[in-house]
């Protein structure tokens, strides 16, 4: 594949069985969904930074994951801090039906960190798992092979299209395109960028289909697999750790 998120390392998280990594991703996502207190959420987010770093994912990659994430975080923080219909006991600021208070701010922080934690949970999986392993793992978990392949490939294409998008942007800006600040006019100004992106996507799909067919994909007969997956003790340990984390979250909620 052209350019993907995977970072080749011989490190502990990378070596885990892909099924284990799926399991952990699900556990992290569940924890992120269930945690209700910003401090806990912060701890989870910290853990999701420590894990990739401990498996030798370069810090710069974590930083670049934050680049699209921080504006989203800020928007959620700002919008989430306002409550409609004023349920807050203590209120710092009020304007008609809209108010800002400590409870709504805490909730907004939790919500924003939750989105970040979810993004990092999935990034951790993609940073440490090769495409072939993703497909093998999903298939062994019962997904039809074609579906696993499609899913894995589309995940890997995200960065490729990100790069093509910026190349198109560069080309059109060089021709004099200026994206206006007014969002309504900006939407129209993006047409010269979006249309080439769609055309490129269609061409790519076409080429991919041909490439897969040429390699015999879809031919009749039983698929064989070169990749043998094996669970090791480290996988058991990691899953146990993830499960313990989720238990702790559940307990802290008093369930």
């Amino acid at each position: 594949m052209m350019l993907d998120l995977y970072i080749r390392r011989d490190a502990w998280y990378h070596r885990l069985d892909p099924r284990t990594k799926f399991g952990l991703t699900v556990l992290f996502a569940a924890a992120a969904a269930l945690i209700g207190h910003p401090l806990w959420m912060f701890a989870l987010l910290a853990l999701l930074h420590i894990l990739p770093l401990s498996s030798r994912v370069p810090p710069a990659r974590l930083l670049s994951a934050w680049r699209p994430l921080w504006p989203i975080t800020v928007i959620i923080l700002v919008l989430g801090s306002f409550t409609w219909g004023a349920g807050d006991a203590a209120v710092w600021w009020r304007w008609g039906q809209v108010s800002v208070g400590p409870a709504s701010v805490l909730q907004a922080v939790t919500m924003a960190l939750r989105v970040d934690a979810l993004a990092f949970a999935f990034s951790l999986l993609l940073w440490t798992t090769e495409q072939g392993e993703l497909v093998a793992g999903l298939t062994r978990l019962g997904l039809p092979h074609a579906a696993s392949l499609t899913l894995a490939m589309s995940m890997q294409f995200v960065p490729t299209f990100g790069r093509i998008f910026s190349e198109i942007m560069e080309a059109q800006e060089s021709r004099g395109l200026v994206i206006p600040r007014n969002p309504l006019r900006a939407a129209r100004a993006y047409l010269p960028v979006l249309i080439p992106l769609i055309i490129t996507a269609l061409r790519t799909v076409d080429h991919l289909a041909m490439a897969l067919a040429a390699r015999g994909y879809g031919a009749a007969g039983r698929r064989t697999s070169r990749r043998q997956l094996r669970m090791r003790w480290m996988d058991g340990l990691a899953l146990a750790g993830g499960a313990a984390l989720l238990m702790a979250v559940l307990l802290s909620r008093g369930l």
């Binding site: 710069a60 930083l63 560069e170 800006e173 021709r175 004099g176 010269p192 249309i195 080439p196």
Partner: protein, 283 residues
């Protein structure tokens, strides 16, 4: 005082998660020049030219276009002075017809009416696209799409035309045809910056060559002189032209008077005869 078209001053640049891609590059592009930028993959050629119209902003140092720092304007505002043809024509094409595609950039500059017609027709004609003018460009073949992309940037009528490996994947004949169109514009006064791996094309068209290696300019001068530096080229990961190689070999073999700053086979023949001492009627 007249400013150079582009002046790059001690520019350093790094992409977010990487080592510096440019390390203290300085150079000027003057009006009407044809400059070839040479270097192996990853040496920083594209990164450098993307600084010329502010697509990238220096991390250290500065880039001036006609004396104005590129940081002071948006990229789109340089379009009437500088055009950039990306390697891939599909990064450009979006319009419903070839004619519309070519008219896009001049329209953004506020050109309209007769002048717009003139610009579009001139560009279409230069590339022989008159018969395809009403066709949807995205549906054309790869070769034609490249021509549409070139026509689209020619219609900008810039003072500087930047071409990033425009002949990659073209056979020698098509590459030459393509560059002949550019050469025609150059003769009318347009400056050209051509990124290429093809030293023969550089030798044929560019008056000046800039050799890059690992983010630095290691040679900058008349194409003849730069291409004659076999050792430098080799160090930068490029192979010299056969004439240069042979000239160096002759010199090492003892032909002390052999010149090595040669570009064309005819020049080689003359230099050889002169150095061998015999001249045309020999012995």
């Amino acid at each position: 005082m007249t400013f150079p078209l582009v002046s790059v001053e001690e520019v350093w640049f790094r992409y977010d998660d990487g080592p510096p891609a440019l390390r203290g590059v300085s150079l000027e592009i003057r009006r009407g020049e044809w400059v070839a930028i040479l270097g192996c993959n990853g040496s920083g050629k594209s990164t450098l030219v993307k600084h010329f119209n502010g697509l990238l902003k220096p991390w250290r140092g500065r880039v001036l276009v006609e004396g104005v720092d590129t940081r002071r304007r948006q990229v789109g505002e340089w379009a009437r002075l500088i055009a950039y043809l990306p390697q891939h024509p599909d990064r450009i094409i979006f319009s419903a017809s070839v004619r519309e595609e070519v008219a896009f950039a001049p329209r953004l500059q506020g050109v309209s009416g007769v002048e717009l017609e003139r610009r579009v027709d001139t560009a279409l004609e230069a590339l022989g696209l008159q018969d395809s003018a009403e066709l949807p460009p995205a549906a054309l073949g790869h070769g034609l799409r490249r021509k549409v992309a070139l026509a689209a940037v020619l219609a900008q009528e810039p003072a500087l035309l930047i071409l990033d490996e425009p002949t990659n994947g073209l056979d020698a004949g098509s590459a030459r045809d393509f560059l002949e169109v550019v050469a025609q514009r150059h003769r009318q006064g347009t400056a050209v910056v051509l990124i290429t791996h093809d030293l023969e094309l550089a030798a044929q068209y560019a008056g000046r060559a800039v050799l890059m290696q690992a983010g630095e300019v290691v040679a900058d001068g008349p194409t003849r002189t730069v291409l004659g530096e076999a050792a430098l080229l080799r160090k930068a990961g490029l192979e010299s032209l056969p004439v240069t190689e042979t000239a160096h070999a002759l010199r090492e073999a003892g032909l002390a008077g052999m010149r090595t700053d040669l570009l064309l086979p005819e020049e080689f023949a003359e230099a050889y005869l002169a150095a061998a001492g015999g001249g045309r009627d020999g012995r």
